[in-house]
């Protein structure tokens, strides 16, 4: 039998990581960075995180958690955006290309309507 080579211990060089962080960090005003760090919105969600180990497998709970986190970020950021005079909504007469095309959005709408009628028919 071949002797198994002793495995190299995994690297976690905290000092170098911290040094790299200070080197990389861009000290710009918040309006340039727009980053927020926050917990999900309600305290009930915090309990879910602590109690659940199978969170990665439970689709609904997990998506809810992501949604709440994004929501908390928006609620935190909106006053700051207002102060900096950055709008979250475009005016009605402002036309620009969207990330998803109108065609695609139409397909989604049709899909949703179809699904709704399907469910109603079954009942």
């Amino acid at each position: 039998n071949i002797e198994e080579k002793p495995k190299r211990p995994l690297i976690n060089n905290k000092k170098a990581l911290d040094a790299k962080y200070t080197e990389l960090y861009l000290n710009l005003p918040w309006t340039e960075r727009l980053d927020c760090t926050n917990a999900p919105l309600s305290s009930k969600d915090a309990e879910i995180i602590e109690n659940n180990e199978d969170l990665a497998d439970s689709d609904f709970k997990r998506e809810m958690l992501f949604y709440r986190q994004a929501q908390a970020a928006v609620i935190d950021a909106l006053p700051k955006l207002k102060k900096a005079n950055i709008s979250t909504k475009r005016p009605d007469d402002y036309y620009a290309q969207m990330a998803k095309s109108d065609e695609h959005m139409k397909k989604i709408r049709e899909y949703l309507v179809n699904r709704k009628t399907d469910i109603e028919r079954r009942e």
Binding site: N13, L17, E32, C36, A39, V74, R90, A96, L112
Partner: protein
């Protein structure tokens, strides 16, 4: 008008430019997600697919030739395992992820939509501040995914949120539209999960700073699954 563009250029201080490209032989899924990311991020550039023969260090030259200082590089092995390299060029660090659960904007039936090139809010999980490697990754994500203020190709609105959460020691990426000012959201897509493999000190080279102890290579994962399945018959024979 041209005056507005002029003033935009003057105020544009944070000049992050991200090059998004891939190796030859990535699947259609990766190509579509790259396209989605380019649509969401106006500060990106694209580059033809590249074939890597010996080392990754040639990528540094490619990125610098295109005047970029950040890179998102997709690499596919065996036509099924997709890796994402995220780097700051030329000073580093570079982070290598395994991409899991990849879904494009087109395939997901999500109702949200946003302007092409509008700026995103970036929302991070609190766990990002607790450990040094997550903190470093958070800063890198902020600089790559955040669209600079007054970027000439960007729209002057903040109408979507990119959220990064850590569950199961992996980063989960979601993109939401801000529908109402009270915090109602609608998801836009794409979705993916990033499983951290390792962090290098420089861009595509240098010393290893971190290795994820919970990372299992996809090859090993498949082998273990096969071994477990074959065990069933062995037990039956004896």
């Amino acid at each position: 008008s041209s005056e507005d563009v002029q003033s935009m250029k003057c105020n544009w201080t944070n000049k992050q430019k991200v090059l998004i490209f891939s190796t030859r032989g990535v699947s259609y899924l990766a190509r579509h997600v790259m396209k989605n990311l380019r649509a969401l991020m106006p500060h990106t550039k694209s580059e033809p697919k590249i074939e890597i023969r010996k080392s990754f260090s040639i990528l540094n030259e490619v990125v610098e030739l295109r005047n970029c200082n950040k890179v998102l590089f997709f690499d596919m092995k065996k036509k099924k395992d997709l890796y994402l390299w995220m780097g700051n060029v030329p000073d580093g660090p570079t982070v290598k992820f395994l991409v899991e659960n990849l879904h494009t904007m087109e395939e997901l039936k999500l109702t949200g939509n946003c302007l092409k090139g509008s700026r995103p809010l970036l929302s991070f999980d609190e766990k990002f501040d607790k450990e040094s490697h997550w903190k470093l990754i958070k800063e890198l994500l902020t600089q790559i995914f955040g669209t600079p203020y007054h970027q000439p190709k960007s729209q002057p609105f903040v109408d979507h949120v990119l959220s990064f959460s850590i569950i199961d020691n992996k980063i989960w990426f979601r993109n939401y539209q801000i529908v109402e000012e009270n915090g109602a959201l609608a998801e836009i897509g794409p979705r993916f999960v990033l499983n951290l493999h390792c962090i290098f000190e420089k861009s595509f080279c240098g010393m290893l700073l971190y290795e994820n102890p919970q990372y299992i290579a996809p090859n090993l994962k498949r082998r273990l699954a096969k071994m477990k399945a074959s065990q069933k018959y062995k037990e039956r024979i004896y």
